[in-house]
């Protein structure tokens, strides 16, 4: 369209120029022609004038001859001669002027001798006058010869003049004709040029109008495109200059990236990229790739104005001018965050499906697997193809067929499967126990199921059941043993003591009876017998207590430690009497314990302290505690005989003693009892001592608040 208009302008202009050139040339030619015609007219006038001039010269010559003839004055002779030379010049001139006209030349050829005769005649008469005098001359003139000749000359000139007049007439007519032709030609050419110009103008105008209309359409379409791009909301369509600065901004860019056009136009587009991407040179890479290849597409994280990130698909296209120069880039960005998330979720689901250790499957109501995860192949050893090729029941242990089919039936009826167990066959012929959970999508006729391989648990469960049975058997045995022990200690309590009682009783009765008859030795023997019986009684009592401490139920209550200690100290009055003992008893915390048992503990420890400090005066007994790591550590310290630490491990054993009975009485059960009681209260017991420097016995009990806390 554009080129057509331009062509038309060029063609129209060229045509007009050619028309004008033609017109000019015509005018020029016409003017040259008319000038020639004019020249010829002028030439003719000149010839006519020259012819008339000749007549005058001849007249002058005749006049001068006549004067001379009349006067004889030489002046006239000279004038005659002068006229004669002028005639010669005139003739030359005339011949030149009429050189173009053969007829006039011929006439001139006739004229020339006539003039020469006339001039010779004139000179002859002048000669005659001078030599023969006036009369002779008059006589000659009187012949009239001269006059006839002159007449001939005049006639000849007139003929020439007539010819010239005739020529003039012709030439003037030609001049007029030329002038008219030129006028007509110019007129026609001008009209033609005007018409061509008008036509060109009309054509050009028409094309220009078309072009204006086309431009308007283009402008409207551009406006529509601009509006369209501007109002696209789902895509950020922006233009960048070659340096990457934002040139234009649309609604989509605003809604995706959060900037308004005012805020962002002129800024570098690296603003949309996370710092790390900018550091990695992504921004430069995009522009250089787009520049090199024309287009660059990339997906990645971008940053919004508020700093949040979105997953974007970006296409950068280089814009080039018609000359190929880089004008900038069009950058189209789509927010794919949702799709990305959906993809990630899908990916995760897929990965979950792939990685799951559980067997996940989709099975049809037709009894075939539709989809299985790799755990199936890993667990059973069958390939996927093998598993999909047969109904799933083919892989189920024949003993589990009925239950499995019943379960599938339930599922297709809309019930859920929870912890249904069956056995699947492995390729190697072994079976694995599966625990199923499943649901059916009834409209799709599909069962979605997951199974866990519980073979190991099954084995473990069986083992546990076995162990439990063993344990129960042991418990029964233990209970029987305990019962036996109880019966034993009951029996000990009753029956073992009776003979001792009898020994002592009858020794006393015997002694009473026979006292007078016994010597000292006899009495000593009786004393030893009675003492041994009593000692055995004490041993039995302590053993029974020890046994009871191990068996009887703990009855915990909150105990005031200090009052417990006071009771114990009071009960030791017989031991304490007559001794100096310095007591240092701290204010001690409450504990939660079995009162009788704990009393036993304090009684043993304090009793020991009193007993083993017997050689000291004064004896010092310190009772204190410290709280550490959630427990109370109580101690009873004395300055008694102490013990050697290398035997410390024997202190808490049953019947283990570090002293002989003669030194310090005792059965060797007290500390064993203490240990047993403290252990039953979740405490620890230990001792420190040095021979002859005293001993410290420690025991720990949980702090009360911890006990109450565990109770709740």
């Amino acid at each position: 369209m554009k080129t057509s208009v331009e062509n038309k302008v060029v063609v129209g202009f060229a045509t007009s120029v050619l028309a004008l050139l033609g017109l000019g040339w015509l005018s020029y030619q016409t003017s040259i022609n008319s000038t020639t015609a004019q020249d010829w007219v002028t030439h003719t006038y000149k010839v006519v004038a020259t012819l008339e001039q000749g007549r005058a010269i001849l007249t002058d010559a005749e006049t001068a001859q006549r004067g001379y003839l009349l006067t004889g004055d030489e002046i006239f002779s000279k004038d005659t001669q002068n006229a004669q030379s002028r005639v010669a010049g005139w003739l030359v001139n005339l011949r030149q002027l009429t050189a173009d006209n053969l007829e006039q030349q011929k006439r001139l050829d006739e004229l020339h001798p006539l003039i020469s005769q006339r001039l010779a005649m004139l000179n002859n008469r002048i000669q005659l006058r001078r030599e023969k005098g006036f009369q002779a001359a008059v006589d000659a003139v009187a012949t009239r010869q001269g006059t006839a000749l002159s007449q001939k000359i005049q006639n000849a000139i007139t003929a020439m003049r007539d010819a010239e007049d005739q020529l003039l007439l012709q030439r003037q007519q030609a001049l007029r004709a030329d002038t008219r032709f030129a006028e007509a030609t110019i007129l026609i050419a001008t009209a033609l040029a005007v018409i061509i110009g008008l036509v060109a103008v009309i054509f050009i105008h028409r094309d220009l109008k078309k072009r204006r209309e086309a431009e308007e359409i283009l402008r409207q379409s551009e406006e529509r495109a601009r509006l369209m791009i501007g109002s696209i909301k789902d895509y950020a369509v922006i233009m960048l200059d070659p340096g990457g600065r934002v040139m234009s901004w649309n609604e989509g860019a605003r809604s995706i990236k959060g900037y308004t056009a005012e805020e962002i136009v002129g800024q570098h587009f690296s603003k949309f990229y996370p710092q790390e991407s900018v550091r990695e040179g992504w921004v430069e890479k995009m522009l250089s790739e787009a520049t090199a290849k024309g287009r660059f597409e990339h997906e990645g994280w971008r940053v919004r104005k508020d700093g949040s990130r979105f997953w974007a698909d970006v296409i950068v296209t280089a814009m080039r001018g018609t000359d190929g120069g880089l004008l900038g880039f069009v950058k189209v960005t789509r927010d794919l965050t949702e799709r990305k998330r959906a993809e990630q979720v899908q990916e995760e689901r897929d990965r979950f499906f792939e990685l799951s250790r559980d067997m996940i499957c989709v099975a049809g109501f037709d009894g075939y697997f539709k989809s299985i995860n790799p755990a199936w192949e890993r667990t059973l050893g069958f390939s996927r193809e093998e598993l999909l090729a047969s109904p799933f029941i083919a892989f189920v242990h024949s003993e589990d067929h009925a239950a499995t089919q019943a379960e599938a039936q339930k599922l297709s009826g809309g019930e859920e499967t929870i912890n249904f167990e069956n056995r699947y066959r492995c390729k190697d012929g072994s079976y694995r126990w599966f625990a199923w959970s499943a649901r059916a999508a009834i409209p799709q006729k599909l069962i979605y199921a997951a199974a866990r391989d519980i073979t190991e648990q099954k084995l473990a469960r069986e083992k546990i059941i076995q162990l439990n049975a063993d344990l129960r058997r042991h418990a029964v045995q233990l209970e029987a043993a305990n019962k036996e022990l109880e019966a034993f200690s009951y029996s000990v309590s009753h029956d073992l003591r009776a003979p001792l009682r009898h020994i002592d009783g009858f020794v006393k009765l015997f002694d009473k009876q026979e006292n007078g008859n016994l010597d000292d030795r006899g009495r000593r023997y009786l004393g030893i017998i009675a003492d041994s019986a009593r000692r055995m009684g004490a041993l039995i009592d302590d053993l029974l207590i020890f046994s009871r401490m191990g068996r009887s139920e703990l009855r915990r209550s909150r105990l005031e430690t200090n009052s417990l200690i006071s009771e114990v100290v009071d009960s030791l009055q017989t031991e304490i009497q007559g001794r100096r003992i310095v007591w240092k008893i701290d204010t001690l915390p409450q504990v939660e314990a079995d009162a009788a048992m704990l009393r036993q503990v304090w009684a043993n420890l304090i009793g020991n302290a009193v007993k083993y400090s017997r050689p000291r005066d004064p004896a010092e007994i310190e009772i204190g505690y410290k709280a550490e790591n959630g427990e109370f550590v109580f101690f009873v310290r004395d300055n008694g005989v102490g013990f050697d630490m290398q035997y410390a491990h024997k202190l808490f054993g049953v019947f283990q003693r570090l002293h002989r009975a003669e030194e310090f009485e005792g059965t060797g059960i007290g500390l064993a009892n203490v240990q047993r009681i403290i252990h039953r209260h979740s405490g620890r017991v230990w001792a420190e001592g040095k021979l002859d420097e005293g001993a410290t016995f420690y025991f720990s009990l949980p702090q009360i608040k911890i006990i109450t806390a565990t109770k709740e």
Binding site: S489, Y490, S493, H494, D495, R497, A498, L500, R501, H502, D504, G505, F506, V507, K508, L509, A530, A533, R534, M536, G537, A538, D541, L544, R548, S552
Partner: protein, 151 residues
């Protein structure tokens, strides 16, 4: 000698009977002591049946009852006595070798009046018997129907 309040001693061991009687004697508590050699005999005595049939026994002021006996043990005797309206108020002192808690608990549950552990040391036993006899046979006013001291 004026008859003192009658004491029923229920004991299977001959030796214990001898020692107990010696202890009572030592404490001048030579009341009329009826000895039953097991629980069955004790009940026969209390109900006036078996070998005690026909005796106008009357109830003892106190029953000294051994716990562990063949046939019917002390706890069973105590149980039957406490379930019998005629016998339920008769004081019963359990005299036993056992320190077993379960025995103690059961005895008291059944309504024993006292519980004495026979110590190995004879002298202590003598002291205990003295206290028991003194309290139950002399100080304590027995329920009506018990044999009173005569004249």
């Amino acid at each position: 000698m004026a008859p003192l309040k009658r004491i029923l001693l229920v004991e299977d061991s001959e030796r214990d009977i001898e020692l107990t009687l010696a202890a009572l004697e030592e404490n001048n508590l030579a009341n009329e002591v009826v000895v039953a050699r097991d629980g069955a005999e004790a009940l026969d005595y209390l109900y006036g049946r078996g070998k005690f049939a026909g005796h106008a026994n009357g109830l003892p002021v106190v029953v000294l009852l051994d716990l562990k006996m063949p046939k019917v043990d002390g706890l069973e005797v105590l149980r039957q006595m406490r379930n019998d309206t005629g016998l339920k108020h008769v004081p019963v002192v359990m005299i036993t070798s056992s320190r077993e808690e379960q025995d103690l608990v059961k005895s008291y549950q059944l309504g024993v009046n006292a519980y004495v552990v026979k110590p190995v040391d004879f002298q202590q036993f003598v002291d205990s018997v003295k206290e028991i006899g003194f309290f139950w046979a002399i100080i304590n006013e027995p329920p009506p129907g018990s044999l009173k001291r005569h004249g």
